[in-house]
């Protein structure tokens, strides 16, 4: 195959099929994709660095805004790590409420995905249906937490709002409605020829590839790998709940759809259990402003897969390091494997099937001087210089102080 046979098709960053900016370069031979290159980083804002300059409580609200769809995932993963360092025991009622919002978030995220998947295959009716049903759970989240998205529900040591008995009934009532609707979608996925023909054998990812690439979440479970942090390493109150990990052996986009719809049914089961088992008592424990020295990791099963946070405290009220590893980072690498040998027209749905979230993923950026032939990277002194001038612009200047210290050192 010569270079002339291969056509490179760029997709994005602004593209009707992608709601978030990401650039994909597809090497095509005729209609078939031979290779896919990914270029992300459009959503990189520098949150991890900013966390080091703000207090633990401020970071909570900043980390919640890593991603608006799984905001509760990031904030829970972070508070779990901080609570572990500080040795805070969260009251059981706080943990139950945290899990309740987490599961409601999963409902909203999976229904959102179902709609987006429908849109990507040109089945806009499904988008309108599932987003209409999604409004039911959005209302619940708004009633329980005070906001439709970016709930601000977690705090270090527990949660910020309690649930009333009327709200409990409301949640149960809405769960019944949603379950009925989800049953309809499950039936639809089983019978509807439009869906089956469009999704089957698209974006195949074998079990071996899942294990090799370390894929997580519904994408891994749809290839027959039973991998779920809620079961493998239970956090919050998942150890007390009775649920199954849904897997499928289809290994394609159709399997991913079935897994997500099946997970929705399990989530309704869990919501009912959470509300019936909900203990009385306090919703939050008092957290100290300064967090002791120490480090902790925290794993959380976000709607898209395993969310991982690392926090290191140095005894002050600001963390020394916060590291976030979102599920899309690993799942993204599987997309090029899925795309190989596929059609260009299947690209949007294959990408959408992992439920990508670039704002979760974009945690680093590489600075390059493109005018130079050599790859430009900041050397350590240059980066330090940049930091000094950045802080000086903000009004933080230690030049005088360091001169004084240096002269004192000389005298000694």
């Amino acid at each position: 195959m010569t270079d002339r046979d291969v056509i490179k098709v760029p997709l994005g960053p602004q593209h009707p099929a992608l709601k978030e900016p990401g650039n994909f370069i597809l090497s095509m031979k005729g209609e078939l994709v031979t290779e896919m290159g990914v270029r992300l980083g459009y959503n990189h804002r520098g949150i991890e660095k900013a966390c080091e300059q703000r207090s633990y409580l401020n970071d909570l609200y900043l980390l919640e805004r890593i991603c608006g769809i799984c905001s509760h995932s990031h904030s829970t993963a972070y508070v779990q790590a901080v609570e572990e360092i500080a040795g805070i025991q969260v009251p059981p009622r706080g943990l139950y409420l945290r899990t309740l919002v987490a599961e409601l978030e999963r409902v909203h995220s999976h229904l959102l995905w179902l709609g987006v998947a429908g849109h990507e295959i040109g089945f806009d009716t499904l988008l309108m249906y599932s987003w209409r049903d999604r409004e039911v759970v959005m209302d619940l989240l708004a009633a329980l937490t005070g906001n439709r998205v970016n709930y601000g529900f977690n705090t270090i040591g527990g949660v910020r709002r309690d649930i009333t008995d009327e709200q409990k009934l409301e949640v149960l009532k809405a769960t019944d409605t949603l379950e009925e609707r989800t049953k309809y979608y499950a039936e639809l996925a089983g019978h509807e020829t439009t869906l089956i023909k469009r999704l089957k054998d698209v974006g195949r990812l074998s079990k071996e590839d899942v294990l090799r690439l370390g894929v997580t979440g519904p994408t891994a479970r749809a290839s027959g790998v039973s991998r779920d942090v809620r079961k493998d390493d239970p956090y919050a109150v998942y150890a007390d709940l009775d649920f199954e990990v849904i897997t499928s052996d289809h290994c394609d986009v159709y399997g991913r759809t079935l897994v997500r719809v099946g997970e929705l049914m399990q989530t309704y089961k869990m919501i009912r259990q959470l509300l019936t088992q909900l203990p009385d008592g306090a919703i939050a424990a008092k957290a100290p402003r300064k967090i002791p020295k120490g480090q902790a990791i925290s794993r959380y099963e976000a709607p898209r897969g395993e969310d991982f946070h690392f926090v290191r405290g140095n005894g002050t009220d600001k963390p020394e390091r916060v590291k976030v590893r979102a599920p899309t980072l690993v799942n993204m690498q599987a997309v090029s494997t899925m795309m190989k040998g596929g059609y260009l027209a299947d690209m949007p749905i294959t990408l959408a099937a992992i439920d990508p979230c670039f704002s979760c993923t974009d945690r680093m950026i590489e600075l390059r001087d493109e005018s130079d032939t050599a790859c430009g990277e900041y050397s350590w002194p240059a980066l330090r210089q940049l930091g000094i001038s950045h802080h000086r612009a903000l009004g933080i200047d230690f030049t005088e102080l360091s001169k004084k210290l240096a002269s004192r050192r000389d005298r000694v």
């Binding site: 459009y42 959503n43 959102l112 970016n150 950026i365 000094i388």
Partner: protein
């Protein structure tokens, strides 16, 4: 107002086609923009249609703070839209940078890069607020308060106009400065 102008304004108001662009947002405003288009809120009944191409759009709906990497894309998409064009900044981040203001890879609000006609606050702006913002923009258009900004091409400068930071090129091209301890100590 001349008759021709009145007809043009009427045509403009009847069916504003929008282009949604995520300029580094956290997805929250984006899903609320889509929620405004779906059955509960359904702005499509007012003729608002989400388009995929900037060349078909009248209104650019932007969400999120402008990151350094997305900046020239945003300018390019703005340039590609036909005149008259209007920009709506959805959410606090798009309006002012919000919680991300001051981060090293964030330029600030949308108006730090392209002219903005309407700001919709909220984190995220709820679909109701988005509809309200769009209606206010249309009302302002009708009364002639909001006029499309006629301005020359925006020259793209990767480090911004009033940037206090040292441009990376300067740092990279001065290896002789790397030797020896610096006199500036932070």
């Amino acid at each position: 107002m001349r008759v021709v102008d009145r007809i043009v304004t009427w045509a403009r108001l009847k069916s504003p086609w929008i282009l949604h662009f995520n300029s580094g947002a956290c997805n929250a405003c984006d899903i609320e923009v889509i929620a405004a288009l779906t059955p509960r809120y359904d702005v499509e009944r007012f003729g608002v249609v989400l388009k995929g191409s900037p060349r078909h759009a009248d209104v650019l709906v932007c969400s999120g703070p402008v990151t350094r990497q997305i900046k020239d894309r945003l300018v390019r998409i703005y340039e590609q839209m036909p005149q008259p064009k209007f920009v709506v900044a959805v959410g606090t981040c798009a309006s002012s940078g919000g919680v991300f203001d001051g981060l090293y890879n964030v330029m600030g609000g949308i108006d730090s890069v392209i002219p903005v006609h309407a700001y919709i606050p909220g984190c995220p702006a709820s679909p109701k607020a988005i509809i309200d913002g769009v209606v206010k923009l249309l009302t302002a258009l009708e009364s002639g308060q909001a006029v499309p900004v006629e301005r020359p091409r925006i020259d793209y400068n990767p480090m911004g106009e009033n940037e206090n930071l040292i441009a990376p090129e300067q740092l990279l091209r001065s290896p002789q400065k790397e030797e020896g301890p610096s006199s500036d100590v932070l």
